[in-house]
Every structure is written in C-alpha cells, then in structure tokens.
Symmetry: C2
C-alpha cells in the first residue's frame, strides 16, 4: 500500500475533488537541498572562527526572529546569515566572508530547478481530470522564476505566492478562484504550511514528506496536537489514490 | 492652472475613466525620504573609511546590478549596501558596520507610513465615482504591511504588488480585473514604472512628480524619447481635473 488509510482518507473519498493545490519547494522541485548545502558551508565558515556557541541553533533562531520583518526566502536567509555570523564571531566577521555569504545568496537565487522524481508524469496524468494550482510562499520573484523554469506551468491554472500560508490566505485564494473548500485538495511536504491551515478551513490535504524539510515547517509541538491527515510516500501515488473514486469532468 | 494641458489631456477627456490605479511609494505615502536618509548615513559611514571611489554612484550601480537577481525593496537594498561597502572599503568593512547596515534595513521595514499631503481627502472624493487600485512594486510583505497601516485600503478595490511594472504586468492586471485599458488611468511619480508602460498598452497616465524619486525611476535617456503625458503638480488636483468630464456611475 502506498498510502496509510485512516479516517481522513474516508472523508476524502466521500467528496468530489475538482482542484488540487501543490506546494512547490520540496514538493514539486528540490529546494531545501540547496539551502542545506549553503548552511553546511556557513557552519564550516563559522568553525574556522572557532565559535563557541551552537552555530546551527543560532542560525535557526536568527532566521525565525527575522521572519516577521523580512519574511521567507533567499534574501531574508542571506541577511540572517550575516547577522548570525556577526554575533557568533563576536563582531570579528571579516568583510570578505560577508561577501562570500552574499555570493551564496546569489547562487541560491539561481540554483537549477530540479523536479522531484515522478512529478512531471504525475501532473500530466492529473491534468486530464483536475484543475491545478501552485500555492507556495516566499520570495515571489524567485518562486515565479522557478515556476517558469520548471516547465510545469503548462499544467497549472495559476500560481499564488503567499507571504504566509495560513487559513486566511488559503481561504482568500479559494474565494478568488471560486473553489469550494470541500472540493479542494492541497498536496505538500509541510505540516505547518500545507496541511493544517487547509484542514482548518474544510479543505483536504495530503502530506508528501520530503527527506529534508526546514525545521520551522514541522516544528509544531507534540504529535498529539496534530489532527488526522493522509500521508503519501511518493507523489506518484496520487493519481492512483484519486483514481478509484468518482471523478468530475474537467471544466 | 494646476495642470499643464497638452495633447494627452485632450485624449483623456474623450473617454470615460472608470478605474484609477495609484502607485504607492512616493505617490500615496512617503518612501524615498527614508531610503535617502539611510543612504546619507551609509555615505557618512563610507567617508569614515576614507574611500576613494564615488560611493553614491557605486551604491546606485550595485543596486542596479542586483535588481535582476534580488528585485526591488528593502532586503535587496540592504544586501546591496553591504556588498557595495565591501568593495568600497577594499575588503575592510568591519563586522559591526555590516550589522549596522542590517539594522538600518530593519528600521526601513518599519518606518512610519506617512501619507503625502492631501492624499486622504483626494481618495475620499474619488471614491464616490471611481474604482481604485493600489499598483505598486517591490517587497510584497512590506508593501501590504504599509497599505494596511496607511488606512487607505477602505477606498481600494485591491492591491497588486508587481515584481516589475511593465506593459505585460499592467496588461495582466487589467485582464484579471476585466478593465478595458482606455477606461483606466494610472497615477504615479515614476515615468519608467507608472507612465510609459501604461501609455504603451492604451491606458491613461498622470505623472505626479515627487521631490525625491530614486534615480532609476526617471533615468530614461533623452527627454525627446518620452511621449506626451499629463503632469499634475499635486494629487489634490486630480478630482478637479476629472470633474469637468462626463463621469460614470460607480458600479
């Protein structure tokens, strides 16, 4: 079995899904691997200064503290690295290391768009039956560039780049596209951003975990606080999951 | 006379305007004064390093070079200042000065939203007759925060934050809102972003200059390359300009 049936799955089959929303980073294409690679280089750089604090924990807390002011995305991450390095090195960060960090930021903005295995054929199958949207967050410039480079926009009815993926922002999208929540399925790798807010407004959600997911996205306290949701091992199992059920004609 | 009549004005009165788009930064509220203040502090900081190059010119060229990768807005400006300082100081930028620049960035994200004189009452008058949109560019998080703090959203049918204000992006907005270009008037302080691309797609545009406008926005080569457009001294003259003409009922 490719999916774990649970009570949420029973709910899923009782309704007609017409629109599927896809998270992008680490659901359709690789993203965290590039951030993780820069983080690794950053930690190496900090080691060279023989810093005494836990650099990884400090970087995460700097990023988290800057979220409200600077939001998600590469530019915010770049600024957070410089700020964190300043504190870790107790004000001894060398100018060319600041510049190195900025250079990593520039490279992150231009990393290749590598589709996650099976995404292309999965979307091609689903395209015959469903309306599809990319619903992502972060830097709109960067996200739209990646969407364009991905070649996946041919399957999509639109792309929405949110500042924060919460119930209110999902509700606004569904309203704008005139989608009833109970006909909407969101697919993504983040419990915080893709699953919980969609379930909360009466939509459906499928969790497709990624090997690497930024700590912030699944940092939700005790598992007992989580409601039921369906988990798929691979996105390629999605058409099969939806296949057995009465499907709508595509409008 | 509050406005300079020219051939463009004649065109304006021949049609029925139903929707007015407003640029935000330096059209509805002050923005460049805060960037200019940070730029002044940045140049003072560079003076303390006795740099030999033209710091102002170098900052502008760094910002311009980073536009394609990092886009507009405070985060991009912050990264550009650090990069520029690294080069100007020949790699001698001190860590606490990098941190000072980041601090300026944080303050820029939180500057007060100060409406330009007369904006509130002008929008209140126009609200009786026209649909209105804010059409701005830059950092969506920051722009939406400012719009919300401005108290002006009560007059607006929407806000659009573009990556780049060009003919294609204006055309997309008009299509999404189902607005015919010849019924649309754009009001703003930037020739590059608010006037030329709107005229190009058959819309109307009013230039309301601001004392301070970022060089990039009006850096368009020789004046002879510019088409006709109407200039208003003050945004408060807008209702009067539109008053004399047959006006539509608001839908």
């Amino acid at each position: 079995m490719a999916f774990q049936p649970n009570s949420e799955r029973r709910k899923l089959i009782m309704v007609t899904i017409t629109t599927i929303g896809f998270d992008a980073d680490d659901t359709l294409w690789e993203s965290e691997i590039y951030f993780a690679d820069v983080e690794r280089k950053f930690l190496e750089l900090m080691e060279a200064y023989t810093v005494e604090l836990d650099a990884k924990e400090r970087l995460y807390s700097t990023e988290r503290d800057n979220l409200e002011r600077f939001g998600y995305g590469v530019k915010s991450f770049t600024i957070s690295m410089i700020e964190c390095a300043h504190h870790l090195t107790e004000g001894e960060l060398r100018s060319d290391d600041s510049m190195q960090i900025i250079q990593w930021g520039k490279e992150l903005m231009q990393h290749p768009v590598e589709l996650i295995s099976g995404v292309q054929e999965t979307l091609e199958k689903l395209d015959q039956t469903f309306s599809m949207l990319i619903i992502t967050k972060g830097d709109p410039l960067h996200q739209r560039q990646k969407a364009s480079l991905s070649g996946l926009m041919q399957y999509m009815n639109g792309i929405e780049v949110l500042m924060e993926k919460n119930s209110a922002s999902y509700a606004e999208i569904l309203k704008n596209y005139r989608i009833e929540p109970n006909t909407f399925l969101m697919v993504g790798n983040s419990l915080r951003s893709d699953i919980l807010p969609v379930l909360k407004i009466g939509g459906h959600a499928l969790h497709v975990p990624h090997e690497l997911t930024w700590e912030h996205e699944n940092d939700l306290g005790t598992p007992s606080a989580l409601p039921n949701f369906t988990t798929l091992e691979r996105i390629t199992d999605l058409p099969e999951l939806l296949e057995d059920f009465p499907l709508p004609e595509k409008q």
